[in-house]
């Protein structure tokens, strides 16, 4: 779906997406990391369960909510990716334990 620009830096950071290893580039947001990794949705909605993907990429639309390191409802586009992050697709409503 997305391909990195040829002059983009090397993807040196190691993260997991739903437990599977993936690579990220320093400076990527979590949402960009997901898109670059070919993930086609980052959450399902609480009401209908429809799959949603990052949309505005600037903190406005809240479509990119994901679970990061065990905390739900985080805006993936506003969180810079870090080495070792555990990113999870969020299914429906956030749970208070997550």
């Amino acid at each position: 779906m997305f391909r990195r620009l040829p002059d983009a830096g090397e993807a040196r950071l190691a993260v997991t997406i739903d437990g599977k290893p993936a690579r990220a580039r320093a400076g990527d947001s979590v949402a960009a990391t997901l898109l670059a990794a070919g993930v086609d949705h980052c959450r399902t909605t609480p009401v209908s369960g429809a799959p949603r993907a990052p949309y505005c990429m600037m903190g406005v639309c809240f479509e990119c909510l994901v679970t990061i390191d065990g905390v739900g409802n985080r805006q993936g586009c506003m969180v810079p990716v870090e080495d070792g992050m555990a990113i999870e697709i969020q299914h429906g409503r956030r749970e208070i334990e997550r």
């Binding site: 609480p46 905390v71 739900g72 409802n73 409503r93 956030r94 749970e95 208070i96 334990e97």
Partner: protein, 375 residues
């Protein structure tokens, strides 16, 4: 007389008290107009905590406890009637409710207060109990280590109060009530059995009058011979982002709404007509809530607000009928949600008949404040 603007009853105030009474009056066959203020109104009905609450109410006036129990018992049928009529679910639930104690001393004080309440002569009997920590954990597994116990009452519950206000407005209009927004009332005259109400939206005439204007009743009451000593009392509320359901019972200061947000509240401040939010109170509310349920600390707060309760000197409602302007009634309380079922199903039919039976409602007359304080 201008027949086109004359109604059987004019209700001043379109909040929960006024709209519940107007809905009940229309059900009783009355032709009703509701005069509502504009968006400048304080509107306690849009800022409340939405409990339908029984436990701890009525110390000093056991009849108020009985009146509250009656409304709690009528609430299920009231919610069903609104849904059947309007299609709107106000999400009434009555799983019972808790008041949590964060120390042994708090729990002892709570138990002593409830014993005093229930030992009053003429107190209506209903179930309540003190629940120890171990039993409490089975019902509220997320309580924190500081919670030592709680009082529980199976009659307690909660609703979606914004949807209640909407359902009452939809319902009363379906029943033919004339809703008149932007009708802030300036003056009321009574002559030859008819009220003439001068408002910013024009004059309205009616045979009977109900003052249900919250804190505005203090100003309006004397226009028709009623003393209504009410004052604003500020409450602040914090609400979190929505989460999957985890809290199966409302707690007096913490409840999860039908939509998933968690409301934290129950502050009391004497601040006059000032509905600003202060970080000091909000911090205290959040701190106590997190001590009760430590997992709440993980949630994002999305909004805080303040609203003004409508408070009488003793905290109990006022229901009164004017002696000098027959047909003028006042209904005012700080529990417009809890008492909505009574206002619609019990009070409105009495107003439709034109009298408040003394054996039932005398105790709520504002004449109780005429007694000089003991020296």
């Amino acid at each position: 007389m201008n027949a086109t603007t004359s109604h059987d009853v004019a209700v001043i105030g379109g909040g929960l008290v006024g709209s519940a009474i107007a809905w009940g009056l229309a059900k009783a066959g009355q032709r009703v107009a509701v005069l509502d203020e504009g968006d400048i109104a304080w509107r306690a009905s849009r800022g409340n905590f939405a409990l339908v609450w029984v436990q701890s109410k009525g110390l000093g006036m056991p009849q108020y406890a009985g009146w509250t129990v009656r409304s709690s018992n009528a609430w299920g049928g009231f919610a069903e009637a609104l849904k059947a009529q309007t299609g709107l679910d106000v999400c009434h639930q009555r799983p019972g409710g808790f008041h949590l104690a964060l120390s042994e001393r708090e729990l002892e004080q709570r138990e002593a207060m409830l014993k005093r309440l229930h030992n009053q002569p003429a107190m209506q009997r209903y179930d309540w109990e003190i629940v120890d920590r171990e039993r409490l954990r089975r019902m509220l597994p997320q309580i924190g280590p500081e919670v030592v116990g709680a009082s529980y009452c199976p009659l307690d519950g909660h609703v979606n109060s914004l949807r209640l206000l909407r359902a009452l407005h939809v319902g009363m209009r379906q029943l033919g009530v004339a809703y008149l927004p932007n009708h802030a009332v300036d003056a009321i005259a009574w002559r030859d059995g008819e009220f003439t109400i001068q408002s910013s939206g024009g004059a309205v005439r009616s045979g009977k009058l109900v003052l249900a204007a919250g804190n505005g009743n203090a100003r309006l009451g004397p226009m028709v011979g009623l003393a209504v000593p009410v004052r604003p009392q500020r409450g602040q509320i914090v609400v979190t982002e929505r989460t999957a359901p985890f809290l199966n019972y409302p707690v007096v200061t913490v409840r999860q709404t039908d939509e998933g947000g968690v409301m934290l509240g129950d502050s009391l401040e004497e601040a006059g007509f000032d509905a600003t939010v202060g970080t000091g109170v909000v911090s205290a509310i959040a701190d106590r809530a997190v001590r009760m349920f430590p997992l709440l600390a993980r949630l994002n707060v999305v909004r805080t607000w303040a609203a003004l309760r409508v408070m009488t000197p003793d905290g109990f409602p006022i229901y009164d009928h004017s002696a000098t302007c027959p047909g003028a009634f006042v209904a005012t309380c700080h529990s417009g949600v809890t008492l909505a079922a009574n206002h619609a199903l019990a009070l409105a039919p009495l107003i439709a008949e034109g009298r408040l039976p003394p054996e039932q409602l005398e105790v709520f007359s504002a004449r109780r404040f005429d007694v000089p304080a003991a020296a």
